[in-house]
Symmetry: C2
Subunit: 328 residues, 2 copies
């Protein structure tokens, strides 16, 4: 099992990505290919006692910067670390990959290099959040790969999210809810009203419309929204959590650092293994830019598990069972 | 100064509403009219030592239930406590009102009874949230009065939210941001792209697009979104906070109850005085259904302050200055 990682992506590159890779290979059954500027990566490995068994370095001379158009960068520059990372998956030189750099660049590179899974209309990013359900975690998708959704995209997100949740968290029939401003049918935008109808005929355990509270409150395992709403929820939840954590830190940070650490972990989705880009023909795990070694290690392990669970076969099977009536 | 309150609205009616009213009149300069079933309200007052100076009771025989259509209830039933509460404002028998029952019913009753302010296209509900800015609070509007927005509605929300923030929190030039999935112009839905252009020519301190993190992170005082997105943010933030608070409670609830209380207060928007329905010709403060006495007391005081600050004159003046070019 070999996982490629863009060692130059994220706020703490390459140090924390190298450290996360070292942690991940320590278990023995995962190998990691660190992709990026070889000199920087080797220097980082040397500062941590050398290159351990299971780690290899793949040189890439270029890097996508935060301020540039991700699509342009992927199209025009053939040797960026993120493109090379995803190409390793396309070339079967890696089984999966982990990216903590520009999310837009990861999505663009995956679309151009790996292409969509058969039957998948649009890929979606599924973020794990803490939730008061049996597994303590819910998935929300899409959170930004597809801001302009049609009903069929939402229906497919339900199928893809269910397949991922089932494979990764062992829940036989994950409950799926559609994010809306009330539980009653007929509420909300025309997109969600049409999607509600579409979801009723899909091979998923659809429980109906849900509100934001239900998502975290344990009413579902999978929440579906368009990428515009999902991205705003993701960022708002992050921001709101930061305000609360700041308050906890001011009041008990010194007397109870363990509480603060624990809360921080709970709000950091990379702790749950990163956010998979579902619907592309490969396993691509996206991490928050601020991920540190522990979160990166978790994402590498989650990527490996998704491969072992053969997640994309489950998704393709689910999409094949998709209601033939939903073509809009 | 007389504030009417729907004593039958909310999860803890009438007990906590009566208790909140008693708290609010203790300061001396506010009178409160408790509207609803007189026998229940009098019994509640009796159990708290009788009816204090400054409190009066206005009987209403009916109540809007949670499961019914708010618009139908307001249209068809003339003696519901929420309609009577808002009518007191329309009849000038009260200067402002506070409602913790059905938000939909409050909006419908306010629209039918008080009507819109001159120049206001659609009313919007502005929720105060904790934020890392100078005043420790930001406003988000709309959070559900208007799920189907046009660009001009968002531009007006910026004007109304700025006027309210300025009057209530003493910030001369509140910064306004438009909720989007990135700060760059050109991102997001066609609604937000058009609204970005509209906002540039409005008499507000518009800082551009913001993400959910910026809203709570202190980048703005006022965040503007359509009612669909705003309502989902509101509910998601509530739900996410509940998961985090549950964790804090499990870990330190017994050893540090003060921390838990403080965090609960910070996430409860009624602690900041409830959520005003802006754009109607009267002061209507909406509280969360689960509000307890302290939050209700704060909302009554905030309603009184909004009247003292003559908030609606400021809003009308702002709308009159509105760019003549924005008519879409």
């Amino acid at each position: 099992m070999r996982v490629a990682i863009d060692a130059m992506g994220g706020d703490h590159a390459p140090a924390e990505l190298v450290a996360g890779a070292i942690e991940a290979v320590s278990g023995g059954h995962i190998e990691v290919a660190l992709v990026g500027d070889e000199a920087s990566i080797r220097a980082e490995l040397d500062s941590r006692g050398g290159c351990p068994d299971g780690i290899s370095v793949v040189h890439a001379s270029d890097v996508v910067r935060g301020h540039e158009s991700p699509v342009d960068a992927i199209r025009k520059r053939p040797d960026t670390s993120i493109l090379r990372t995803i190409q390793l998956v396309g070339e079967k030189a890696a089984d999966a990959c982990v990216c903590a750099g520009s999310t837009g660049a990861a999505v663009a590179a995956a679309m151009m290099t790996l292409h969509r899974l058969p039957g998948a209309r649009r890929p979606g990013i599924a973020v794990p959040f803490p939730a008061n359900n049996r597994n303590g975690v819910c998935l929300l998708l899409d959170v930004g790969a597809n801001p302009h959704c049609r009903p069929v995209h939402l229906a497919q997100y339900a199928i893809m999210g269910s397949a991922y949740y089932r494979a990764m968290f062992g829940e036989a029939e994950p409950r799926v809810g559609l994010l809306n401003i009330g539980q009653e049918e007929g509420k909300g935008t025309s997109l969600v009203r049409q999607a509600t109808q579409a979801l009723r005929s899909e091979p998923v355990n659809f429980v109906g419309n849900i509100e934001g509270r239900d998502l975290f409150g344990g009413a579902v395992e999978v929440g579906v929204s368009d990428g515009f709403v999902g991205n705003i929820i993701l960022k708002a939840a992050e921001g709101f959590a930061e305000v609360l954590l700041g308050q906890v830190a001011r009041q008990v940070g010194e007397s109870n650092p363990a509480l603060l650490q624990d809360l921080k972990r709970r709000v950091d989705y990379a702790e749950y293994g990163g956010a998979p880009l579902l619907g592309v023909n490969g396993v691509v795990m996206i991490c928050h830019g601020r991920s540190k070694a522990r979160a990166i290690g978790n994402a590498i392990r989650a990527a490996a598990k998704a491969v072992e669970q053969d997640i994309n076969s489950h998704i393709v099977r689910g999409l094949n069972e998709e209601s033939a009536g939903i073509q809009s």
